[in-house]
Point group: C2
Chain length 331, copies 2
Amino acid sequence: MTKQPTLHDVYGAHARIKPLIVDTPLLASAELADKTGAQSVHLKLECLQHTGAFKVRGAANKILSLGDDARQRGVVTFSTGNHGKAVAFVAGRAGIPATVCLSEHVPAYRVEMIRNLGAQVSVKGSSQDEAEANYRELVQNRGMIPVVPFDDPLIIAGQGTIALEILSELPETQVLMIPLSGGGLMAGMAMAAKSINPGIHIVGLSIQRSPAMVESLKAGKPLQVEEKPSIADSLLGGIGFENQYTLPMVEKYVDEHLLVGEEEIKAGMFHLFDTHRIIAEGAAAVGAGIMLSGRIDVKGKRVVSIVSGGTVDTTAYLQIIEEQLERKTHP
Amino acid sequence: MTKQPTLHDVYGAHARIKPLIVDTPLLASAELADKTGAQSVHLKLECLQHTGAFKVRGAANKILSLGDDARQRGVVTFSTGNHGKAVAFVAGRAGIPATVCLSEHVPAYRVEMIRNLGAQVSVKGSSQDEAEANYRELVQNRGMIPVVPFDDPLIIAGQGTIALEILSELPETQVLMIPLSGGGLMAGMAMAAKSINPGIHIVGLSIQRSPAMVESLKAGKPLQVEEKPSIADSLLGGIGFENQYTLPMVEKYVDEHLLVGEEEIKAGMFHLFDTHRIIAEGAAAVGAGIMLSGRIDVKGKRVVSIVSGGTVDTTAYLQIIEEQLERKTHP
């Protein structure tokens, strides 16, 4: 029997992680309000969070909750993305040993970046699966504490702190638009927001190319879906066959699901760059993308959309922006 | 006899303008600390301020200080840049009539942008000088209230609020690096920071191509310097022959002056983009530029550098970034 995190847990998380996180700004977008007919649209800029993504909130809540014994044993994870960076950053700041398990194929600059943040790197195996086997070994045989990316009540409560910041600053918010993949961000934010204001409308934005959560909701159990490459790479991946928390919480708290296409995401990235001078990764541009395409009805509403991170490869990013600019100037 | 604004005036300004401005984030840059040997470097992100630049602080303080009679007469300015946008934004929000005088040569999209912010536009004449003549006419014959870009105690006190935000959040700051042109931002911030902590070290960053303030300080009076085009276009322009406030205040409060070159500015812009995912205009990248070039000694110090704005033309910006990326990948 598992116990879902509550609003009280999110308050606890906020107090715990405050010294380690940025209370990120809410930027008003008159342009997106204009395009959608919304009364107002604000963007919550988690791309300005430490390590460039919201993930540091959950990681901080998990790691700072550990007791002395667990702290001494240290934490371990196997993500190469925003979650891995977040664990390394928090452990480095809190002076807790952290190990990030990587395969031999992870580019050297990423290994270096994670080391610089303050984590040890354990390079083993030639695939992500072998890196994961190494991680399991460290958990089982060395007693290290696993920090999973989303399906953990403390991670979920940590991500939920974003909703507290939004509703403190803009209590009149009527619609929250939240990127959705494994569901840690969504479960935490939706639960916190609905607990404060049951009337708030929660929209989950998954990517068309890998809507694992939406398919799992339909099936009533965790499903694996075929994964096609997406520019919103942070939203790829399944929800885990052992999913205990995020699937039931997403089912309970989310009012509306939309699948966002690659072209919409690119248009969103360009709009955020061109209009607001914000560099958003694909996953963070789903909200702007769906608003620009006109596929969401938020007329007259007060909307907040989460810009979840800014981790993009410079060359790939510039290519998208140049392509969109070309299309805009020579349609 | 003119009275310079004081720290108390900056406190008054902060209370007055708070509802209209963003308390912009301070972003830690481990990379710039590493490059310079500083203990810490933080970037104050005024590029995320409403209208994309710090100018809204001074404009808000000036306009919200007006009495009922003056509010009814309305305000007027003739800037086409960040100051003009700021005046239009504040007047629009406060419901005070504002007129921005522009020449017939200002591109239509800029005219539209200023209108959308809530100002009237008075298009007259074929040069900036003629637009200014129109502005003077509106002040003298119609009794409209002029809002000048920098040499006004209320404008200066408004820009000084940035120093309050920095020293509230990072009271241990030892060095402030501030872009310098007309001197409104510098006069306000330097005065406020020195009044709180006389030991703080203030660095003024002018552009090599138009160091009007530095030349005026040497001459002991306002001087006009030859203006060459710069990618830091917000830092072009003189300090005004009738200068009353910013010249003596800069003389009194600034400890060190550096002139920043075009290549340094471009390198700064690229670094902010590539490392921090921040889109800075040229004027806002002088701090990063001078730190990267190694021409400033901040070893062991706690440094805050002001990223003053993000108003850049998309095409011109991408060209600079692509050029710098090319240089980095194929040196």
